[in-house]
């Protein structure tokens, strides 16, 4: 049995008096790819926020356990301490995840240091090359505002690679991307898992991507998990009515 990375037990998250997300159970091992599928407003982004704790959320029930530590519960909100070093995040708009006005090399050094790693320029340039950025050396000298949106997105993916966290959270990373880049992102994420055995938790409304990547899948609706389990089972033989309806119009990627 391989190492347990993330466990979510009966989690309820609220804004004010309203429960936005309730009764969520997820369990992930190293190298596992779990996709949470849901329409916008289903609470999947809130779920991610509860894990990383970068924006304020109120957990009134349940807990999030990373490896052996409770990182989020009613009384604990320490997800931030794990960000970078152990947990990575590819946000909804990955192109905006670096400060547009500072040279990238400085920012990468900062991020390596934050992750407790030594800055390795050669390695970074190799990773750039892998995500389709050929002139790594000059990219490191530039500032993000000087580059196209697509390049910035690839750089953000490269960062997730370079810092190789044990758990990578992805918030609809493909929604802002064109089809080619989205395909590239999916390939890269799969490779990241293959090479570094990274666990990936992705939320998306894109069934096609989920189907292509996921080992485990969850379907969210109105803040509840209507179905959760082995991805093949869910996609091939959905039990829930809502899931069945969703399956009827899977776009092909």
């Amino acid at each position: 049995m391989s190492e347990r990375v993330l466990t979510i037990n009966n989690l309820c998250v609220s804004y004010g008096d309203v429960d936005v997300v309730c009764g969520i159970d997820i369990s992930m091992e190293a190298g596992d790819i779990t996709c949470i599928v849901g329409e916008s407003g289903s609470g999947k982004t809130t779920l991610l926020r509860a894990i990383h704790g970068l924006e304020r959320t109120y957990i009134n029930h349940g807990e999030v356990v990373f490896q052996n530590d409770v990182i989020a519960s009613r009384d604990v909100s320490s997800g931030r301490k794990y960000m970078g070093r152990h947990i990575g995040l590819i946000p909804q708009n990955p192109g905006g995840s670096f400060n547009p006005l500072r040279p990238l090399e400085k920012q990468f050094k900062e991020s390596y240091r934050a992750a407790g790693m030594d800055y390795d320029r050669e390695e970074l340039i190799r990773i750039f090359d892998k995500v389709g950025l050929s002139d790594g050396a000059s990219i490191l000298k530039s500032r993000p505002y000087e580059m196209s949106g697509g390049m910035n997105q690839r750089i953000a993916i490269a960062a997730a690679f370079a810092l190789h966290p044990s758990l990578l959270l992805c918030d609809e990373p493909a929604s802002a991307l064109d089809v080619t880049t989205a395909g590239m992102v999916v390939d890269q994420l799969m490779e990241l898992r293959r090479e570094k055995n990274t666990a990936i938790l992705m939320v998306t409304h894109h069934l096609g991507i989920a189907r292509r990547m996921a080992d485990h899948a969850g379907i969210m609706k109105n803040g509840r998990m209507v179905e959760y389990g082995d991805a093949d089972l869910i996609f091939e033989d959905p039990k829930d009515e809502y899931t069945k309806k969703l399956m009827a119009d899977i776009p092909k990627l």
Partner: protein, 309 residues
């Protein structure tokens, strides 16, 4: 970028020429006869003949642009003309006053920034906390206080109640404190408000989440990134406040008798000593325009995207 700056410097020169013409025009149109003024300040009975002779000597009958040209040429060489009050050259008085004013203005600027920058940042970071509300209320009140009023209150409190400071500043270090504080309080309030708004706007940008997601230390997020990105705007805010500071220093210098250019100009207004007033407007205008150009350049260096409309 250099092209843009050259263009701005050219604009600045045009601006200064227009300013000098307007200043001269103001004096030209002002009521009262400079020749009369000059003669009566010498304390002799003025006769019609003396007046005509003096007018002739001062060249008052010549056309506007000839007189302007003469004055402007003098100003370029650092000669601001002779005082109507005592016939002494105006330039040394202006220079001495200006250096005292710069001491006072810098002191109050530093004093207000030392408080405003950390308060503005913390207040933006801890948005809607008790700390934020307190800072917002205080800065709102500070912004609503005219500085003459602050100075009167401070004087009453420190000089009369506590008897800590001399009432009259007259250029000493000890005397610098109250006038600088009077200028700094409302300015600090305005800076805090504006810096808070800038930082808050910047904190909502995507890259901040990106940095935090990579585990970058919060102090690095705030100082090396957010504050750095806001620096250009903060310089603009400061440059714009310099104008208010100049007006304020006239009031404060008069109250505390600080021997700056503001007190000089108030004395000259009472005495209708026009060359001093003209020199004052021109010097203040030049400094203000130059400071704003400087902040423009800093903005450009920090954020080269700002190509402006």
């Amino acid at each position: 970028m250099t092209g843009r700056i050259t263009k701005r410097i050219a604009e600045l020169l045009v601006l200064l020429i227009v300013l000098s013409i307007l200043t001269f025009l103001l004096m030209y149109l002002a009521p009262g006869d400079p020749a009369q003024k000059r003669l009566s300040s010498q304390g002799v009975a003025v006769t019609k003949e003396m007046l005509d002779a003096e007018r002739e000597r001062m060249g008052l009958a010549r056309p506007f642009f000839v007189r302007y040209g003469e004055w402007a040429w003098g100003v370029i060489r650092g000669d601001f003309g002779l005082s109507l009050k005592d016939d002494m050259p105006v330039a040394p008085k202006l220079r001495e006053g200006l250096s005292n004013t710069i001491v006072l203005a810098s002191a109050s600027l530093i004093l207000s920034l030392v408080f405003a920058i950390p308060l503005g940042i913390l207040s933006a970071v801890k948005k809607n906390s008790i700390f934020d509300h307190t800072v917002r209320i205080l800065s709102f009140i500070g912004n609503s206080l005219p500085n003459f009023l602050i100075s009167v209150i401070l004087m009453y409190f420190f000089c009369i109640w506590l008897d800590l400071f001399p009432i009259i500043a007259s250029g000493s270090i000890q005397g610098l404190f109250l006038p600088a504080l009077s200028l700094a309080i409302p300015m600090c309030a305005r800076f805090t408000r504006q810096i808070r708004a800038e930082i808050q706007k910047e904190l909502e940008r995507d890259y901040v989440t990106g940095l935090r997601a990579r585990g970058v230390k919060e102090s690095d997020v705030l100082i090396k990134n957010v504050l750095y990105n806001c620096m250009g705007h903060i310089f603009t805010i400061i440059a714009l406040q310099i104008g208010t500071l100049m007006g304020g220093s006239v009031v404060i210098e008069t109250i505390f008798r600080w021997p700056g250019i503001g007190k000089l100009v108030m004395d000259s207004i009472t005495a209708r000593d026009y060359p001093v007033i003209m020199g004052f407007v021109l010097i203040m205008g030049t400094i203000y325009v130059a400071v704003n150009l400087l902040s423009d350049i800093i903005c450009q260096v920090i954020d080269p995207r700002v190509e402006n409309e």
